[in-house]
Symmetry: C2
Subunit: 273 residues, 2 copies
């Protein structure tokens, strides 16, 4: 064992518990990510996988909230939307997107829900040295992630936002919702040409398999455009490779995930040096 | 880190969860004991503390049983008796003692309760090379532990059992129950003289503080008598020290605890090399 490695995870009677709930559960990365953070900062806490079927969500949440040493819950597929009505209060982002990906247990046992899917993307742009204010953003995919990213970009002051989505009804519904909340921004649905856009975010699964088409028309990408791709595997998906070749700044799904871990750790009130 | 140390505990999406439920919780030793067993045998499981108030026991058990990756639950004070009516089936020992200290989750989500407090003591005597068949046993304390130890000794064929208990009504009630289940054994309530007894078990807290009186009349202890003391701290309580000086075989609370961990691991179907 390398001497620079943190102390291994020790669980005793004083350990605070955090869970990630999902179905399936074996693929989740949060236990490794958070437990290494807990170890690094010598925090008496552990992040555990909790396999919950959709029909059992209510009864499991009721039980978890009565565990006095529960610190919080991370929520993943398929519970992000349905968990909303089982908890007590929500951040503006969770309320706006209708989805929760992190729940904090307050000392009185009440549960406070948040959604950092969008803020993690914003923070990733900031880490690239760019921001969203008065920028034009092309978002591919209007599912849960696209919805959260669109909301966060507009909150950060993006002036123009275009959604690219295979299912037109889904895109139109989201545009309508966003226009109601952000009346001063230009928001539309369009094709996958990035010409004129200063920020591009791929929120679709496009790029996970080699057979996938490129999510944008890469020839029209400007070298000044910053590109974020939420795809986790491969680590450097085709979109980012092509963008890098054009001289664009890029960030991958793991960078967004790391930003998300940091935001959730703050939300969970985990003190770090 | 010593190279002989087992691999540190790693928690990922495939980890099975075990909990110890109690109130208070910080004192529990099960997480360290079981997690080192899991590490040693490279088992993808973790034992976690779960702080549950008496009023929340029902709702927490309902939630835990719906966690698909729950392996089992260890039950400690004050839930051992009240948890009985919240689960689906019981071992004969749990039924007889009216207390549960381990619950296994079957694949269908049903919960099966057991009590190893007594069997752990029996196994400890076996480890000393002694057994209980046709033996005369002096048990000090007729609370939860004394109750379980008395039941287990009689199951193992002890022919004579005497209870020593400050609260006579408690002792008389237990004697009546035991006589109904073990009609062929002689069972009575008496004073703390060990004369004529071949086995002595201290199930009372006597010996935890230096001000405590010796739980038995040590002068009448026979060198051939085997003595087990459930007290965990100090590691070598006054009773055991005195018994060792008389040449008796002895075992302390940690030995009984280790036997209990082994029995519960078997019950949880934890395969070990």
């Amino acid at each position: 064992m390398d001497t620079n490695d943190p102390t291994p995870l020790t669980i005793n009677g004083d350990t605070h518990l955090f869970f990630i709930i999902g179905d399936p559960i074996s693929q989740v990365g949060s236990p490794l990510l958070f437990n290494s953070l807990f170890q690094q900062h010598q925090i008496a806490a552990a992040m555990l996988p909790c396999h919950v079927l959709p029909t059992d969500l209510g009864v499991v949440i009721k039980g978890l909230r009565r565990q006095q040493n529960l610190g919080g819950i991370i929520v993943t597929v398929p519970h992000k939307t349905r968990v909303l009505r089982l908890i007590d209060s929500l951040t503006p982002e969770a309320l706006a997107t209708g989805a929760v990906n992190a729940i904090r247990r307050n000392p009185d046992g009440s549960l406070y829900g948040a959604n950092f899917d969008g803020q993690a993307c914003v923070r990733t742009f900031q880490q690239l040295g760019t921001d969203l204010r008065n920028q034009s953003v092309l978002i591919i995919g209007a599912g849960g992630a696209g919805r959260a990213v669109a909301d966060a970009c507009l909150r950060e002051g993006a002036s123009y936002l275009r959604l690219v989505e295979k299912r037109p009804s889904r895109a139109i519904r989201l545009v309508r919702e966003l226009k109601a909340r952000f009346p001063h921004a230009i928001i539309d649905v369009g094709d996958h040409s990035p010409g004129g856009f200063t920020r591009v975010v791929n929120c679709s699964p496009s790029g996970m398999t080699t057979a996938d088409a490129m999510p944008i028309d890469i020839d029209q990408l400007d070298p000044g455009t910053a590109v974020v791709d939420l795809v986790l595997k491969p680590v450097n998906p085709p979109l980012l490779k092509a963008a890098q070749e054009m001289g664009c700044q890029t960030a991958n799904g793991n960078t967004v995930l790391a930003a998300q871990v940091d935001l959730i750790a703050d939300f969970f009130l985990i003190a770090r040096g």
